[in-house]
Symmetry: D3
Subunit: 298 residues, 6 copies
């Protein structure tokens, strides 16, 4: 075995050899930063403080001083978000190195502004999610408790923010935002999914809602539920086929109990109830209740 | 599209409009703080340092100096916990604004003191949980490993702290404490559940134990297990009916394997074993083994 | 009830009583530190920055300056890791107090150096995991996205680091590293498991891979999947029997869908597919597809 | 020498003995906090951000968004300052333990509000200090440089804030604020001193302006200058006599060069110039120039 | 007195009124940041770590790994310094808003690169300052002590860095760097001063070296010494005349003892010694010793 | 000019060249850390919290819980201080690399223990300094104010701690501790100086007390006062002669006013008063008052 010092030096040499990191190196132009999880966390906190005044945000607010706080928060949000969108644009577009910085950064600011313009609508729809969660859960003492500490609401807030950015065409950032909620809550909602109002997730750990899922209004799902994508045959390059609808559609007033998996582009009809621990791979008619047969052995 | 600056100003205006945040605003009196997740985290850390001396807590302790450390920790705990309980009382009680501050704060201090008086008993029962976990897991090298890094123990510590506060009638704070463990470990134990000694959770991600569950001694459950509540008909206001027993009862020496769901106020008899991925909605007799029939198609 | 002050004093007395913490006290010699979760987090970050240059690590790197960064990172890694291994050795070995400090610390440095020598191989195999994950997921836009924010990759990185340390005989630290990924991603891979190249985990929350599992190449598993250990009869002291193979073997090109449990030392043959929500307790032949029968009632 | 452990224990015993700390112990009632240097630092930063918008304060402000920032800052200032004044009141008044908390805290809030009401005037007079400093210093490139990094201005800002609080009767806090500037800049201005507009201090290290000093308008002093108090005979208890005028009076347009000491209740007439390194103990007539005779030996 | 809430609102209104902050507002274009004291502190720390390897910088370095550390530090320095120079350019040039960002930022990077190119020379001259300080001070145990904790060396390091930037024409930043040392050490050296090699400052608090001072080699000065500028008649606008030589010239081997003031463009000849507490306003011949006559009264 | 990248690379090369840093490199053995200013700061804070209970230290203490706090603080102090003394021993002794680590570290722990044993005496003498300062200053409202925010007391605390370590023979660390106070307060007391009880420093910026000074009881000095060392002829190697008495002796009850310099091994007799701005180079008889003649020109 070589001497300690020279061992380290030789390993550094091997690890610095270009051929060893070809696929794993991020080549970026000088002025691009990588998107930052830490900043995105701050962005989500600011959004929460704007959307639910008094619940989130460190400052104590009253009705009189609220406009000051919202004003400062909206401006901070714009500054931080523009920069993250800019980083997302650079990260996802290899050709970005050729665009003049002003163009990319102007685009980023425009996208951030469009997102901010949608905040009032985001607040409205989130109010319905809070209401639905509170009404469904006998253990909730008051809506404040739901807003303040229910992981389902936390995941839905991140989802609705991420989805808005996704709809505006912001690359990469939405996925990071939804993964942040995933890590915190165990709930994994792809920003591409489309979800109606009055949506509620109970407990939620292990819940997965795939990219092309469509969910109606007044839908409620539990922990461990997967709205999973059918595996499509790979394209001619052996890569996964991208962008094709392959996840379930849930109509209004559907309920799915814990640990069930709904696989592929199937349709669960209005008002249907899916019991726990079921594996569903075909359409379910409106109003039906599906549950595992208790044919277990004792 | 309006000019950028004026767009931001107009959005701030809309978001500051009272009608837009009616349901989502937390009106609180001047001297109340919101409960703080960060402080509660510190509180849990102090509790761990008191209960498991030498494992948790930054300081190096010896038998001779231990009383100093416990003394300082108990005092810090009291200071921080009183304040959080105070915040919890204000948060959950809309009428709180009318009570004199001294009354609320005196009550909070009394509750904190009662919690502290229960610490010796908490340490005793947690010792049985550690023992059970170690004895059950062939992968554990020594009890220290269990105390120091098993998520199951981490979740049970939070639960036992939260349950003690819940029993004392502290509002809101217990739920926050259990959600903290939920986020860290994926294990969601409602502080209202009643759980005996020698309790063990393996792996645990996705495990849910509902508000009115009752669990005996020497019970062991795995990841993805739900002790779920039956849905009760809503009350006359369309709200969920609250406070009614609706989760399972597990008698002593029951084992439940991964990803099974036990739904409603059913009773699993002493020594029964529930296999994985099963959906159980009715009583199971003592000593029975229940498991999914392997009637899958190949 | 006694006076507040004296109550606290008497509780401190009870909690400081040696008999009350016998099993829960960590007696350690003066110069040992406990392993530190915070430092291990830093260690993982440094490993990521070395393995995936440009993606992780705060600094902006270019091909010209990369060797500087790798050099500094490798040295920091060695300093921090030696110390943590040292702490792990002391923690797990009660007799450690009798060894001269130099011996233990020399051993720790040697182990750290051996780990560092394996970094180039770790980078190679992780490149195959990234490739597999990207090829499998139609929602992934580019490999960078996979490296940067997929929880599956994050868990596999921690696993491969932890496994390397486990193979070197480092006690305790590997388990802490895998629990860190468990907490972040909900994916629980025991460092003792043996896993081939091109391994992919989708979503992953609730996935458990037990200590003696063996996984071939090109295997793909989903959220909520358990490779679980058979319960063995306790040894003569009533303790769990340790170290016996008791988890499944998955051959090359196996796929396991969400929420399925594979229990015991069973063998899943090459190319087999296990559908979602299944409970498998016996061998599955190569090429077979196993799925839950849809015999649920409506 | 006793055994290490027992040595520490015995020292702890001696240090905990009440008789050993009688004069050095701060007995305070349960809900009082000590004033906090860290919070006062934040308070000064907020004041600066309000008074000199764009120079201080982390946020980027424009004319359109300035009111939001000032609104939030004024509210934070009020919250933090009320609490510090409250702590100051408790600290300095031994009888405070007997007042109901509401009374003290109401008084503190009133004082904080009065301070805030004076901010516009503070801004006006500070503008004259900036102007004077810029006009006097040939090395200053622009007023922004003066505002942003001249220690003289920094000390004067703290002084004017501290003096305002002193005039309102706030105990203790003003002194802490001036000591903060003293530590940062080496300039020690007692909050009790009365200082006119267009005041400038150059370099400033070692400058001392005593409690009962009176300084007119357009005065300029340099580093190392002391406006020092005559020593008065002690009172009947052997304590220093307090509150009697004993520092110099400087009329308008006086200049004092470096390292000079002006001692006692003397009057320096309008437009007088005091050269460097002089010791002045009697009145100086208006318009006079005083300087050390160069009768040094070579 | 108005109601508390409305009082705050009205003060916010007054403070937001444009006329009230005309002279005190920093109008800056959107993408400029203000120079940051915190970042400059980091820059100085990096410079120290590069110049005095092993003394400064958190990492433990050996001769083998030193190039890695220097490489990483030089790159960080360039990144941070370019940005601060950019901020300095924008801050000091009102017309900057009209230049394209690329131009300003390209200029900033060029200046940063030129500064870095001078680091080897900076190290050489600083070595002579360390040597001179050590040789002069009987209380110094070894040169390491001088490097590591003498305020004189600390101030000279900042000065030499600031002076280099000043010579390159970087605006504003040099002054901030010298003010940082001023605050830490009480030593105020204007970046414009020109100082030879083997320069030593003892104790140093209160020492001031003005903008146009010229100091030869092997000069030593003590605490409280001022090399002060003559007051020049104001220009036609009543502003200070800027840029004219008005501070002393000290030739080689001059010593100035504590608390002396040297005023105006005087010349202190080679090898002259100025005693303490003297006020010198005319030339001093080479080799002369000047000291205060002890004609004090007793 | 070379290309930017290669310029940086070439500068890194020059700066890494061994000949360029010979005198400026700190060669240290692998397990030594440099002394750390940050840790020493913490050590001083802990000492203050032990010595002045209730004034310093973040925790709220009462007489009942004080022993816990002192116990924890004494233990932390011992842990941190031992390590810093160890670092100081390694730093100052080039031969240290040859001693076994245990020997050095055992010595460090012994020194730390001896320091701790002296804490009760330190508290006693500091009580006299507080008393003297309070009695002398008409601006002080109560002793608490003196303890809490007078820079003179702050500097004396650091001095008395540093002197104790100096007397025990701890190298380097005492100097760092006194430089910390120097930077904060502008008061520079060499740890080697010997100072009696009831010592008071007023304002203090610029005060210097040299290594071999001897100060009696009840002495009071002001800002800018230097007790300075005579320059001794260099030794045969051209280095400063070290360790010879060369600073003044002040007998009991001496007062020295601002900006005076006392140079060399002179003796200021009991009860003498030295006025401001004087330069004293010979003995002063007991009871005499010395002051600058006011023979300045007007």
């Amino acid at each position: 075995m070589p001497e300690p010092e020279s061992l380290l030096n030789s390993i550094v040499g091997r690890l610095s050899d270009e051929s060893s990191y070809t696929q794993l190196f991020h080549p970026y132009r000088d002025d691009e930063a990588l998107p930052s999880g830490e900043i995105l966390k701050k962005i989500i906190e600011i959004c929460r403080a704007i959307l639910f005044p008094g619940y989130y945000g460190k400052a104590r607010v009253s009705r009189q001083t609220l406009p000051y706080h919202i004003g400062v928060n909206v401006q901070s949000l714009h500054t931080l978000l523009s920069r993250q969108i800019y980083a997302g644009l650079c990260f996802s577009d290899k050709n970005c190195a050729d665009c003049p910085e002003e163009v990319v950064s102007g685009k980023a600011e425009g996208l951030s502004r469009s997102f901010i313009a949608a905040l009032p609508e985001l607040r409205e729809i989130l109010a319905t999610d809070v209401e639905a969660t509170f009404n469904n859960d006998p253990a909730a003492q008051n809506p404040g408790e739901v807003i303040f500490c229910y992981p389902g609401i936390r995941a839905i807030i991140n989802y609705r923010i991420a989805h808005q950015l996704y709809e505006l065409g912001v690359p990469f950032i939405p996925r990071m935002i939804s993964e942040m909620a995933h890590s915190e809550t165990g709930i994994d909602i792809h920003p591409g999914a489309r979800i109606g109002h009055h949506f509620a997730i109970d407990h939620g750990t292990g819940t997965v809602i795939g990219e092309t899922s469509i969910i109606g209004n007044y839908v409620r799902i539990f922990q461990g539920v997967s709205l999973a994508g059918e595996k499509l045959p790979p394209d001619e390059n052996g890569h996964a086929t991208r962008g094709v609808p392959r996840h379930p559609v849930l109509e209004d007033h559907v309920t799915v109990y814990s640990n069930s998996t709904l696989l592929g582009r199937i349709r669960i009809g209005e008002g249907a109830t899916i019991g726990g621990n079921v594996w569903v791979t075909s359409d379910v008619a409106a109003g039906t209740t599906v549950s595992q047969q208790n044919n277990f052995k004792r």
